[in-house]
């Protein structure tokens, strides 16, 4: 036989063959193919290659293809794997518990956060026509270049929408929240609701319990109420037999009767539009003809587009609609935006939506991912650390003929067993924790087990954690040599240790990020709540006055001041800490009449500055003795700056056609949220337009409130007495921030906890491995402290590295967040020191504790076997 040329068959088909072919047949088949190939290639190599490929392809058929090898095909092996997994889990109870615990907490936290996010994303999405519902916004372009966005739209705009634009299907006016007195028999309460067009119930899908949503508001004296109100005024029985339609409620100070034409189910937290009653907007317009003007914005407007119609052309056509009808006196442009998007993107910047709650959702989503990663890393680290105890078992299995593939399968079966257990326990934990979490997050959360997304999500989590944690031991351990693994002197390769250390650093970096985040959010919240707002909000009660009571203001004030607990009283046209009545009509010497400046206008009585403890910077306060002061004005610093006078005092100011003098400048006080700069303000001395009484109390507040209630009821019979504390009302404006900061705090603590669990597991493992070393060191006279510090250093080092990495990252992230606030706390170095110290101390204690325990063991016990 002549020597064969060394020709290689095409490698790709060969690799394919090796991949699919039954291992039992492979060697022979491959040999046959090679023999054939060599014979053929003596004639024509190219043809031989082709034939080789063809042969391989023809071999790809059942009988030759390997069977899908999984332990599930061999129930006996699977049973063995499960048994061994359970045995080793039981043998190292502490480790198994630690391992499961961190994964359970991690998955449960992640699930809770995802439920929260899911709930947020669903808000306002329940309307059947959601895709076609839009809201109208008004962008007021100021001369300073700033754009103020408001939802108050001139009422004639809706007529134009309905009549001139065929692509608009229906449109509705939606008024502000209004408190009206409701009377039915002995029940007298203030109830919050809105005036709206009849179309509101065909545009939005608020479910009706009785009545016809399409015609409920057709009659001007009809009212639609929520199930809550129905129960309150007609008792629980209304649901069963009593037909509420046609029943009347006496409403408002004019005591007009309204006929109930429908009852809707209160949408609760799944709707951003909340109200307990709706009265036709026509009723309001009839009494307030000022709204019927292109110059005023009395209502918000929502509309539906016809199916298939585009928004953009309508936006284009309506952009200048206000300007066209007001002769471009002020530059006010229309902006149309999806209704349901507004809940998550409610902040406007330059006339366009720019963030809002969506930021919280992103933050929490990142936290959820962080926690899951931290938990998975734990699981992986502990599994790898523990698995090196099993080298002897692997050795025996190998001797008995186990292939690497089988050993890998074994580790995957084990890790999946753990991850499935963890997911099941986590699901139970979520059930238990859900009511508490709903309470904290101010939501009604529920776990919908019929939701396929939930199961898909759980499946993914199981798969990811199972694969991640099984991956490393499955890859590494079977490759140990039999002899050394049987002898038990296998040193895990340093790459494994490096990987573990890297992961620990990563975990700690994430935890530090969360801790810094928590501290900064906390600090900012305290800053907001305790900031000097420019007025004194402590011990201040405010009372919304009925028209009747406001008419008797002088008497009311005198009566209030006679109560010993009442120090001062003032009346205003609104809450100064949350004020939004403005006008663009103010004129002063030197102002270009075309210049557009929107200035807040507040009406108060003489005692406003004194009662509120507002500082006077220039000039004087209103003087009760001077009758002329009723036409004079106070301004704040921002207005003074806009006017640009060196000393604005005694300059003339015209507002709504009334000219008076500026008699003083007050220090700025906050009139809206901390996200925004302080607005300009003009204060008018006009007690007749006030409807809120502010009472400064001292001493026993409860006693004072009782007396105030008595006085109020006496002067204002037939009205319920309601009051609010100014500081609490202010804090409630930051409720979502508070909720967020609570949630972030909880999960930051959880993340640190999980990280420490992992560290505890790792250090106890390494303490166990180094028992002999510790024994020898003790024999040579090392003190316990020295041993603990020596051994702890290897982990403390990791935490320090994590600190170095995480701190700059957290500075960046938190500065981004703080930038949302116009008024924000300084970024203090102390935050890092605290965050660093917390992590370091917790980490060191965790590690030290375990090593301390190990170092106390008598060396005789550990070295006896040598």
């Amino acid at each position: 036989m002549k020597p064969h040329k060394n020709i290689k068959p095409p490698s790709r088909p060969l690799r394919f063959l090796r991949w699919f072919c039954d291992p039992g047949l492979l060697e022979d088949i491959e040999g046959d193919l090679l023999e054939l190939f060599q014979r053929r290639s003596e004639d024509d190599e190219g043809k031989a290659r082709l034939q080789f490929t063809r042969d391989v392809l023809f071999l790809f058929r059942p009988g030759i293809i390997r069977s899908l090898t999984s332990p599930f095909n061999r129930p006996t092996m699977l049973k063995n794997y499960l048994m061994v997994a359970l045995r080793s889990a039981r043998r190292y109870k502490g480790h198994t518990t630690l391992n499961l615990l961190s994964l359970v907490i991690g998955i449960a936290s992640c699930l809770l956060i995802l439920l929260w996010i899911q709930d947020e994303l669903q808000i306002d999405k329940f309307h059947a026509k959601d895709e076609r519902i839009f809201k109208v916004w008004r962008n007021m372009h100021q001369s300073s270049g700033e754009i103020i966005t408001t939802q108050g739209i001139p009422e004639p705009f809706i007529k134009s929408l309905r009549n001139d634009y065929p692509e608009v299907e229906e449109a509705t006016l939606i008024g502000w929240d209004i408190d009206l007195v409701f009377r039915k028999g002995s029940e007298v309460h203030y109830e919050t609701g809105k005036y709206a067009s009849p179309e509101i119930f065909s545009i939005f899908s608020f479910p009706f319990l009785t009545g016809d949503p399409d015609s409920a508001l057709d009659d001007v004296s009809s009212i639609v109420i929520s199930d809550r109100l129905a129960t309150k005024y007609f008792g629980d029985a209304w649901r069963l037999h009593e037909d509420l339609i046609g029943q009347t409620l006496t409403i408002g100070s004019s005591k007009k009767d309204f006929n109930i034409s429908g009852v809707f189910e209160h949408p609760g937290s799944k709707s951003s539009l909340e109200f307990d009653w709706i009265i036709p907007a026509q009723e309001y317009i009839q009494q307030n003809d000022w709204v019927n003007s292109w110059y005023n914005g009395g209502f918000a407007i929502c509309f539906t587009l016809r199916e298939g119609a585009e928004l953009d052309p309508l936006q284009e056509k309506t952009l200048q609609l206000i300007n066209e009808n007001t002769n471009y006196e002020a530059d006010e442009r229309i902006f149309l935006n999806s209704f349901s998007d507004n809940h998550l993107h409610s902040n406007f910047e330059n006339g366009r939506p720019a963030g809002g709650r969506i930021q919280y959702i992103k933050i929490l989503f990142v936290i959820a991912v962080f926690i899951l990663i931290i938990a998975c890393i734990n699981f992986m680290n502990l599994a790898t650390a523990r698995s090196s105890r099993r080298t002897r078992e692997i050795g025996v299995r190998k001797v008995l003929g186990a292939q690497k593939r089988a050993l890998r399968q074994q580790f995957f079966v084990e890790s999946f067993l753990m991850s499935i257990t963890a997911v099941v326990v986590a699901l139970l934990l979520v059930f238990v924790a859900l009511p508490y979490f709903s309470f904290i997050s101010d939501k009604q959360l529920s776990l919908d087990l019929s939701n396929p997304k939930l199961w898909a999500g759980l499946g993914i989590v199981t798969l990811v954690t199972g694969t991640l944690s099984g991956f490393y031991p499955a890859l590494l351990l079977p490759s140990f040599r039999i002899i050394s693994s049987l002898k038990g002197d296998v040193k895990p390769p340093s790459s494994g240790i490096r990987l573990r250390e890297g992961l620990v650093v990563f975990q700690f970096a994430l935890s530090i990020l969360l801790i810094v985040g928590t501290l900064v959010v906390n600090q900012q919240m305290n800053y907001i709540l305790n900031k000097n707002l420019g007025l004194d909000k402590e011990n201040m009660v405010f009372i919304r006055m009925s028209n009747e009571l406001a008419g008797k203001m002088e008497l009311y004030k005198t009566e209030l001041l006679s109560i010993p607990e009442v120090k001062q009283v003032t009346a205003t046209s609104g809450n100064p800490l949350s004020y939004g009545r403005s006008s663009g009509s103010a004129q002063w010497a030197g102002k270009d009449p075309d210049e557009e400046v929107e200035i807040n206008v507040m009406s108060v009585d003489d005692d406003f500055v004194g009662t509120m403890n507002i500082e006077m910077l220039k000039g004087r306060n209103f003087d009760t003795e001077l009758a002329t002061d009723t036409s004079n004005y106070l301004i704040n610093e921002v207005t003074a700056n806009i006017m640009g006078f060196e000393d604005p005092v005694n300059h003339e100011l015209t507002l709504w056609g009334l000219t008076g003098k500026i008699i003083g400048v007050v220090k700025n006080f906050h009139m809206s949220s901390m996200y925004e700069p302080i607005a300009p303000l003009i204060i008018r001395n006009d007690p007749s337009s006030t409807f809120m009484a502010f009472v400064r109390t001292e001493g026993d507040v409860q006693q004072g409130l009782k007396s105030i209630e008595a006085v109020t009821k006496d002067l204002n019979p037939g009205y319920p007495f309601t009051y609010e504390f100014l500081d609490r009302d202010f804090a409630s404006a930051y409720r979502s921030e508070m909720t967020l900061s609570t949630i972030v705090k909880i999960f930051a603590i959880i993340s640190i906890l999980i990280t420490c669990l992992g560290l505890f597991g790792l250090s106890s493992f390494s303490a166990e491995q180094r028992l002999k070393e510790i024994g020898i060191r003790k024999v040579y006279g090392a003190s316990v402290i020295r041993i603990v510090t020596l051994l702890s250093w290897s982990y403390t080092k990791l935490i320090l590295i994590a600190l170095v990495i995480a701190l700059p990252a957290s500075v960046y992230v938190m500065l981004q967040w703080l930038n949302n606030f116009e008024f924000r706390t300084d970024f203090k170095v102390i935050v890092f020191v605290i965050a660093g110290a917390i992590t370091l101390v917790i980490g060191a204690v965790t590690v030290g504790l375990k090593f301390w325990q190990a170092a106390l063991v008598n060396p005789v016990q550990t070295l006896r076997g040598e």
Binding site: D28, E30, L34
Partner: protein, 112 residues
């Protein structure tokens, strides 16, 4: 116990293995079949048949010594088992009986 069915192609493979006796391995079987049948035999078809025959218990195999020609891969030698021989015998008996049952004239085409 009913005997597993023996397909036509399987029968030929089984017969070839019997013919080759000691030297029945992949290529040799393929070559022999191609020579006798005067047609191409694909590796895939032959391999599947061999595997099926082995599963049915008509063939048994063992690995030989590695040779340089085949890139160090060992050959798998096939031998017909007792059951295989019985199966062949039975097929032949069936055929034989069928041949004998044919009326003499219908095959006597020389007179057509």
């Amino acid at each position: 116990m009913p005997r597993p069915h023996l397909g036509e192609f399987e029968e030929i493979v089984l017969l070839t293995v019997a013919v080759l006796d000691e030297g029945a391995y992949g290529i040799a079987i393929k070559d022999d079949m191609e020579e006798r049948l005067e047609r191409n035999v694909s590796m895939g078809a032959m391999r599947t048949a061999l595997k099926r025959l082995e599963d049915k218990g008509y063939l048994k195999s063992k690995l030989g010594e590695p040779t340089a020609v085949r890139g160090g891969k060992r050959k798998r030698y096939y031998t017909v088992t007792h059951a295989g021989r019985e199966a062949l015998q039975q097929v032949m008996d069936v055929r034989k009986r069928l041949w004998q049952a044919i009326p003499y004239t219908s095959l006597d085409f020389r007179f057509i």
